[in-house]
């Protein structure tokens, strides 16, 4: 009995060794097949791998940050050096701009009080309050076919999927994947990005779509609507995902009758970004105010 079992064990070991040799011989093809299956699954359901992706990024965020630190310093140094040479001209321009802004400030204050009194007369429900999370950009996708950036804020910082992300001058993208310590932002110029917008001036709703290039394209515009160069593009707030009125860019070119939009903020130039938190409901805000002040 014991002899049989020893023989069986030897046979099993031989079989295992043969299997290992076969796997070793065919592993490149097997691994290529596995990669193809993974790719197919990712093509069919792009969100399928969201969890493992963010878990990997969460685990490696400190390493990405550490490796990127010298390059961030280099970027800042280059920016400072180029800034120094332009500082005199910049100073003159800012002085002139400041003078103009003082005039605009007075006008804005007048309009604000007028607007408030009209709202009070009409009993308009107040707009929800906005709050922001400011965070650093720690990396990008590293591919010219995927326009995303990694930011150093996640669930721990109250970042949620779908929140709008602003650069220094306007919106640059939206949060698409959230980890504990980091999140991924889909930039507006990615071909998969589609944002409901309003064309100021024409007061026309449209969809702003990415092209994987610098200029974005306005689609779903009625054919009779004339959009002029220089028209400002802002978020429409349709669907409730983004707040209304976030500036995005302006129409700089009409290509074959299709308006092309240039973004106010360079999506790759931003070292820091602001995430627009989901607006708080006005009624909740009123209740909190009542509780904290103790008055009706």
């Amino acid at each position: 009995m014991g002899q049989y079992s020893r023989k069986d064990k030897r046979k099993q070991a031989m079989r295992a060794a043969t299997m290992a040799v076969r796997i070793g011989r065919y592993s490149p093809l097997a691994l290529t097949g596995i990669a193809a299956v993974l790719l197919l699954s990712s093509l069919i359901s792009p969100t399928l791998w969201g969890g493992p992706r963010m878990a990997t990024i969460d685990a490696l965020t400190p390493a990405i940050e550490f490796v990127g630190a010298p390059f961030r310093m280099m970027t800042e140094t280059i920016s400072d050096a180029s800034g120094l040479t332009k500082i005199r001209a910049e100073n003159a321009r800012l002085k002139a701009e400041n003078k103009q802004l003082h005039e605009w400030y007075q006008t804005a204050m007048l309009l604000r009080s007028e607007n408030q009194s009209l709202k009070d007369l009409l009993n308009v429900i107040p707009e929800p309050d906005q709050s922001y999370i400011t965070t650093r950009v720690i990396g990008d996708s590293g591919s010219s076919f995927v326009k995303t950036v990694l930011i150093e804020a996640g669930q721990d910082n109250a970042v949620e999927e779908g929140q709008a992300v602003l650069g220094s001058q306007g919106m640059i993208g939206r949060v698409i994947e959230v980890g504990k310590r980091a999140s991924r932002v889909l930039l507006l110029n990615d071909i998969n990005s589609h944002v409901p917008v309003v064309v100021e001036g024409a007061n026309q709703r449209a969809v702003l779509s990415g092209t994987n290039e610098d200029l974005l394209v306005l689609i779903h515009l009625p054919p009779d609507v004339l959009v002029e160069k220089g028209s400002r593009i802002i978020t429409s707030g349709s669907g409730g995902l983004f707040p209304t009125g976030l500036p995005i860019g302006e129409v700089t070119e009409i290509k074959n009758g299709v308006p092309m939009v240039s973004m106010y903020s360079d999506p790759y130039g931003a070292g820091y970004v602001q995430i627009v938190e989901k607006p708080q409901d006005p009624n909740v805000r009123q209740s909190i105010k009542t509780l904290t002040t103790g008055s009706e």
Partner: protein, 168 residues
């Protein structure tokens, strides 16, 4: 030198190779001052895989190539499996041509890398065009390719150095 310390030193050298590969993966995600996002960064890891497949194939087995491609896929936010697939194809082709490439001059090996990176980026271009049902603009692809070709001689010195250390 004792047998034990010899193995310790060898393990340390191997560790150096894998750390270098990991660093190349992370460099792929780092924002560079002048390159922007289209700066041919995909080629960092590809240079490593191409070089070690030619000069140290036993240290870079296929499962390691697959794992590095998959890790890059997960980190880059692109289609999962695409880099793993491309790197496996490149590794298989390069291993098939290894004897030829080993006897060639540095410039021929560089030309071989240019073919490899063109193949990988070509696959990326086709797959991403299919996934978005659009013909993607080819200009960023061309820019990416040129940067990738030029990056090879810049990334090569640390790898040649490590290869020499491994030979000692």
């Amino acid at each position: 030198m004792s047998r034990h310390s010899f193995f310790g030193l060898h393990t340390l050298k191997l560790f150096g190779l894998y750390i270098l590969l990991f660093l190349l993966i992370l460099l792929n995600l780092v924002k560079f001052p002048l390159l922007g996002a289209d700066g041919g960064k995909l080629s960092f890891l590809l240079i490593g895989i191409y070089f070690w497949t030619i000069y140290r194939p036993t240290l870079l087995p296929y499962p390691m190539v697959f794992a590095s491609g998959l890790l890059l896929d997960l980190l880059s936010g692109g289609l999962v499996g695409l880099n793993a697939l491309c790197f496996m194809i490149v590794a298989m082709i390069v291993r098939g041509q290894r004897r030829f490439l080993l006897g060639q001059s540095w410039s021929v090996v560089w030309a071989g890398f240019c073919v490899a990176v063109t193949l990988v980026m070509g696959i990326h271009y086709v797959v991403y065009s299919l996934s978005s049902l659009t013909i993607l603009p080819p200009i960023p692809l061309g820019f990416n390719l040129i940067i990738s070709y030029l990056l090879y001689p810049l990334i090569l010195p640390p790898m040649i150095l490590l290869n020499r250390v491994l030979s000692d």
